[in-house]
């Protein structure tokens, strides 16, 4: 069953990724850039889903991890003159540390308290960025354009913000997230995480140290979010507090729920749908958050399993 799941899932994801790869040669410029953005944001959502969908822990403060990766990569390039690669590595390690320490504290609480604690930590992180505005440039943010240099591929020089670079880097990020989460979810460790989601006390009584598995899931999920943030900083050369705001924590929750929590491909689908929905609404009114609210309510009432979750329940039992 598991091997079958793994084989099918890898085929399906391979198909989706191949399609995305080929699409870049046909998409008009506008959608080309939208797709790059969706892939980056979807990778963030995939990391979020690892925690929500596969471990059963709902976080309302994930923007903290995204922003932590984004700012630590960005600031280290800005101040210490790190190369983009060094910035990425630093951002990854920094976020790993942040999420590990956060987890050690936050996971002492459970259920509703955990949610509130994540929300509060997220908000504090945001306030801290504003508070140290001499260093972080507060609300305005800062640009990395003059600090990144160029990327040399096959003897040709490219900017990081070059559309083709953006698209393919985002695609590589997405592909590696899909692959690594699929492998973990279908491994013995994934089985334990799902068991914790389904029945935590029983998992403890099977002889597992539930706390350390939850800590792993949180740290892993946070680090994935951080890498997405760092990548975003490189590809868009901009670092700002909007990515630390509470809305940016709610977004991956919405994308994941809409696409289907606990399905590998769901967050990508959810992100894509919401991106285009908001894009469409923004043409009519500036109050696109109203739509976010309505979609949240409707999804949770009528589609609690999300799109892919419903499809799995009805047709594709093997879907991981």
């Amino acid at each position: 069953m598991r091997r079958k799941s793994l084989k099918y899932a890898l085929f399906m994801q391979g198909g989706v990724l191949l399609l995305l790869f080929l699409l870049q040669f046909f998409l008009p410029a506008y959608h080309h850039s939208s797709f790059s953005k969706i892939m980056i944001l979807a990778s963030y959502a995939i990391g979020y889903n690892f925690l929500l969908g596969y471990t059963g822990l709902m976080s309302l403060g994930h923007a903290m991890f995204f922003a932590s990766g984004m700012y630590s990569a960005g600031l280290s390039i800005f101040y210490f003159g790190f190369t983009p690669l060094e910035g990425m590595i630093f951002g990854t390690l920094f976020t790993l540390t942040v999420s590990l320490i956060f987890g050690l504290f936050a996971l002492r609480t459970k259920a509703v308290s955990f949610l509130i604690v994540t929300l509060m930590f997220g908000q504090t992180f945001y306030l801290a960025i504003l508070y140290y505005n001499e260093f972080t440039y507060g609300q305005d943010g800062f640009s990395l354009t003059d600090y990144l240099g160029t990327l040399s591929i096959l003897g040709k020089e490219y900017l990081y913000s070059d559309p083709a670079i953006r698209y393919n880097f985002a695609l590589i990020l997405l592909a590696s997230y899909l692959l690594i989460t699929t492998l973990i979810v279908l491994s013995p460790v994934g089985r334990i995480l799902i068991a914790i989601r389904e029945n935590e006390p029983r998992t403890q009584l099977l002889g597992y140290n539930v706390f350390s598995y939850k800590l792993f899931a949180l740290t892993f999920s946070g680090t994935l979010a951080g890498i997405s943030g760092a990548m975003h900083a490189l590809l868009y050369s901009y670092i700002g507090t909007t990515f630390a705001e509470i809305h940016h924590s709610i977004s991956p929750l919405l994308w994941t729920l809409l696409g289907g929590a606990g399905t590998i491909i769901g967050p990508l689908l959810g992100t894509g749908i919401m991106f285009y929905l908001i894009d469409f609404i923004s043409g009519i009114t500036s109050n696109y958050l109203l739509v976010v609210g309505v979609v949240l309510v409707l999804t949770i009432i009528w589609f609690p399993l999300g799109i892919m979750g419903t499809i799995r329940q009805k047709w594709l039992k093997w879907l991981p």
Binding site: R3, R191, A195, L205
Partner: protein, 247 residues
């Protein structure tokens, strides 16, 4: 028949608020036999077992298992050392398949056997899962969602999970509760087979089952041990008759 002690409790007590559920209990479990604890509702059987498994911490007293004091260990650690508990009310992962349920248990015991950092291969897990499921007679149900099984089968699945955990001391808490008569006979046979390789501690209400299976019986009342002995001794004990029949 003074055989080797596997587990013993010394002055074990547990209070809930003002209520003493388990009161200064010295309980011994000896290797290689089926022992049973009986007693009326509220006698403290389940609390005693919960203390042994580490689901509740003791108010005072100690628990010695294989010569070591385990009263400070977490419930997870105790399972790893071989004390496996089978729930009174089934507590399976009802949204997952039977395979996954047993695999969760098997995976843990295989990892304990093979050392901490080795990743257990799925093939080995699979072998263990199929073996455990067929031992309880659930072969062919591997990919059914556990929650959709009939109640009797869920209890058997619970037993299969415990077997896959590679227990040294298997605690069965009211295994026959809620089962039909035919299922009970089936279960008695199963427990007897299991007891050939595993030490079984039985918590039961059903006297027929107890006298059929147990080689040594402990009677609890009001949080303490009332009397102990072989099934025939217990059957003829006047106090026990009073306790159960009210005569």
């Amino acid at each position: 028949m003074a055989s080797v002690e596997l587990l013993s409790t010394h002055g074990l007590s547990r209070q809930y608020g003002g209520l003493t559920a388990v009161d200064n209990v010295d309980f011994n479990f000896c290797q290689d036999r089926i022992q049973a604890i009986i007693g009326p509702n509220g006698a403290g059987k389940t609390t005693l077992v919960n203390l042994i498994c580490g689901r509740v911490p003791p108010s005072s007293g100690s628990i010695i298992y294989k010569g070591k004091d385990i009263s400070k260990l977490s419930s997870a650690k105790r399972v790893q050392s071989g004390i496996v508990y089978t729930f009174q009310v089934t507590s399976i992962f009802s949204n997952l398949s039977c395979y996954e349920n047993v695999a969760l248990s098997a995976q843990r015991s295989l990892k304990t056997q093979q050392g901490k950092w080795l990743m257990v291969s799925e093939t080995v897990i699979e072998e263990q899962v199929f073996e455990s499921l067929s031992r309880v007679g659930l072969q062919g149900k591997e990919y059914q969602t556990a929650g959709t099984l009939p109640y009797g089968h869920q209890k058997l699945l619970e037993v299969a999970m415990s077997l896959a955990a590679d227990p040294e001391l298997l605690i069965l808490d009211e295994p026959t509760q809620g089962l039909a008569q035919s299922e009970i006979y089936n279960l008695i046979g199963l427990v007897r087979t299991i007891s050939k390789s595993v030490n079984v501690l039985l918590i039961e209400h059903n006297m027929e089952v107890v006298f059929n299976l147990a080689e040594y019986v402990t009677v609890m009342d009001n949080g303490s041990i009332m009397t102990e002995g072989t099934p025939s001794e217990i059957e003829n004990n006047h106090d026990v008759q009073v306790l159960y029949l009210g005569t």
